[in-house]
Symmetry: C2
Subunit: 480 residues, 2 copies
């Protein structure tokens, strides 16, 4: 248990009403979006950067481990405390500053601002922040995990859209590093802010970001494609990049079991296929453009139909079927997959990425291997073909009975290991590191990378080895 | 002078024919693209990453300062040795590996591959690397300076397009850090490669990059706009982002003296204005799209004309004039500016950036102040309005006689100082740091930033303070 004098000191910084002590209602802060559960020594909710700095400085000086948390929607146990009961949660939910600069197409956003709130504020200006997710995270966590999403192909990840950051370093002074510039170009030395993006809080607490925002799409056209076969998938992607160019905004793959789970779980989701026959694999392709139709300009639906016609007319067309779909219906199907899988059994999620051309080979390999080794698990993969990402999710159906714990560990080790070593892929494409993936970092990150990361972390924190540090220690823990 | 035993040892690594010793023809390696001149102790040209590593390790162990150099086209004295005669040049020009992956839209590129060579290799695949420059740099230098260019607005800088890097660290082992992944998403800890982008070699030598490449434009439409007045400039930019959206690929400003110099210097450049009357300021706006016209689709020229019509029809239209131009002619004018300015007098170049809305205010302020303080210098600014960048170049015309040295120092200090402190701008937007800008880093980088950068650099190099390090030490020098 934590010393009560520490709680008093932290309460003295933020005010008693913003320190939730042990025995109080720390529940929502201890439980993540997927399987993680932990026990918090306390939850502290500072009001601003100054208070964050003071809390961090106090905790560093007294060797109290803090886990930064904003929206707590992550999937890798990156924002919740462990079971020790000795870690405090540093909640950033009160950092809700929001300042728009429409002429610069930028926004200054507090770590506690939700994606939905940012987009509501931007909408009257015809702008949006183009990270497209099922969840509704806050800015701090989006930066800390370098979130991707379904429009990566067009707009990139959070990193690509972060112009500036303000961070509090985990040192004894709680140094505030103000890198929160709204400039698009500023090459005056190493770009330190990059260290804090995607490293889950280990290098410092993100308190504020300046992000680039984009024109909202004014027109959308969507189709559901059925590739001729496995190898046609990447062929189709390349053709769409060639024929739709700047309009292409999503190219999302969905396996049959993933679509089946979505449709079974969400009855409002329309089955778009003829006679309801779900194909082995389908792609949601989306075109968008940010302006309304000008005189004489073909509507985007007609552009998409023209592209599909040209693809059909090719010799050996890579299509087996193509349905122009209502955009809301197509995305409803795509977005219902995650909930559908959760409802259909025990979910084991993977967030992998590959060279785009390797996606079909990985899938073939895994379907064969898992079918032989773990027949009770169903492969329900879906994901972002356009950027090489795949949520290679497995489900152990309720009907198959209880899930043997050792089966989960073996499966995780097998899928991650093959993804990395056989296919050169990533074991965490867009969800970050967190406690859930630490073991794979330890196993698969090259030694030189670990050594350099550890040295950098030591340089930033100025801690002697072994002193508690900030955050679930991605990269760091394996490194020291 | 350098010890001959060192030269023998380095020659033993790369072969005698790839070590250019003192007294030999080191000239081209000692002279930069603008005003910088230096003296090299030697020039070493390793053949591959292994030799780079061995050379670096040897030089680190023997406290020999190395300056990495690839195409040597930079403008900030970042790739040439100083006048001491004690620094060796580490030329990367022999690292010419090039491996394309069209399905992944990526290329693995050696540090010694020229931009033009990369684009020639990509052209048959309908692809290109979208950094658009007057110069023809090599990949190593493009990464080390995080080059921008004229299509930043659409494609971003080099950083945005780097997926992976291989670097050699300036430590006693010449550690090779292989971060050269072709994955688009890989969030498994801190993204270390970012430290080597834009930091001019201080953190390590870039030997290889994996970059994302893009579909080549298949259609282009270009116009030259004359804004109604100063404030109409950003208004026009925002209108084009709204009306041209995904098509907009360049929005480049040109002042009257810049255009005059281009036209005077390059007689083949056509004066596009009615009766040859060059306006006070003009904008080159470019739309591109990466696909050929489909049936029934309006050509891009017609789209551009439609947009201009809609802008003219607005109340209080922000335009004074608009000329649809041939793309090659418009860009010939834009690209002739740099040479034109060099030919017209002594050039003092600035590479600044601002919030976009601050561009006109900065320009107004500087025109008034410089007119009063330094009337012999002409403001010949041009640049990348779309991303807030401006090459705020000054010319002391030949006719005005010799340039007083103290005038140059005073001007540099005044323009940089006002840009940073009064307007919140950057003193090096896209050219990097180098020796030329070190004094401004020392003056304007915040102390916390310097301290952290210095600590990181120390952690990477594992050097005791004061040991010679790699590169013209951007960020580092001020920091230690």
């Amino acid at each position: 248990m934590i010393d009560l004098a520490h709680l008093d000191a932290v309460a003295g910084i933020v005010g008693a009403s913003h320190l939730v002590g042990p025995g109080s209602d720390t529940g929502p802060y201890e439980q993540g979006a997927r399987h993680d559960r932990g026990r918090a020594a306390f939850v502290v909710r500072p009001a601003d950067t100054r208070e964050v700095s003071q809390v961090v400085a106090y905790c560093v000086r007294h060797a109290i481990h803090l886990v930064p948390q904003s929206g707590n929607t992550g999937l890798v146990s990156g924002s919740t405390p462990d079971m020790s009961g000795r870690q405090g949660v540093l909640s950033l939910e009160r950092l809700r500053g929001l300042d728009l600069d429409p002429a610069n197409r930028t926004a200054r956003v507090g770590a506690g601002v939700r994606l939905s709130a940012l987009n509501e504020a931007l909408e009257p200006h015809g702008l949006f922040f183009p990270i497209d997710l099922g969840a509704d995270p806050m800015m701090g966590g989006m930066v800390a995990t370098n979130t991707g999403g379904a429009r990566f192909l067009r707009y990139g990840d959070v990193r690509r859209n972060v112009l500036g950051l303000e961070v509090v370093l985990p040192d004894a002074q709680g140094t505030v590093l103000d890198l929160a510039s709204p400039l698009r170009k500023n090459n005056v030395g190493a770009d330190l802010k990059q260290l804090f993006i995607g490293s889950c809080g280990a290098f410092g607490v993100v308190t504020q970001a300046v992000v680039e925002v984009h024109r909202r799409p004014a027109q959308t056209a969507t189709a559901i494609l059925v590739p001729r076969d496995d190898d046609a998938l990447v062929e189709l992607l390349v053709l769409f990049e060639e024929l739709a160019g700047e309009y292409l905004s999503a190219f999302e793959g969905m396996s049959r079991p993933a679509m089946q789970a979505a449709i079974a779980h969400a009855p409002a989701v329309r089955n778009p296929f003829a006679r309801g026959e779900i194909p082995a694999y389908a792609v949601l392709v989306e075109l968008t453009r940010s302006w309304a139709n000008a005189d004489g300009e073909a509507p985007l639906d007609a552009v998409l139909e023209g592209i599909l016609t040209r693809i059909w007319e090719r010799d050996d067309a890579p299509l087996a079927d193509a349905l122009v779909a209502r955009s809301d219906e197509a995305w409803a199907l795509r977005h219902a997959i995650s909930e559908g899988l959760k409802a259909s059994g025990h979910l084991l999620g993977f967030d992998l990425s590959f060279r785009r051309a390797d996606l079909p080979a990985f899938r073939r390999f895994m379907l064969a291997e898992l079918g032989a080794r773990h027949p009770a698990w169903r492969v329900c993969d879906f994901g972002h073909v356009g950027d090489g990402g795949v949520h290679f999710n497995l489900v152990h159906p309720h009907a198959a009975g209880p899930v043997p714990r050792e089966s989960i560990e073996a499966l995780r080790a097998f899928v991650m290991g093959e993804a990395v070593t056989r296919f050169g892929g990533s074991f965490s494409a867009e969800h970050g590191l967190g406690r859930a993936n630490q073991v794979f970092y330890d196993a698969y990150a090259p030694d030189a990378l670990k050594r350099v990361t550890g040295a950098l972390l030591g340089a930033i924190t100025h801690h002697p080895l072994g002193t508690p540090r900030l955050g679930p220690p991605p990269a760091a823990q394996g490194a020291r």
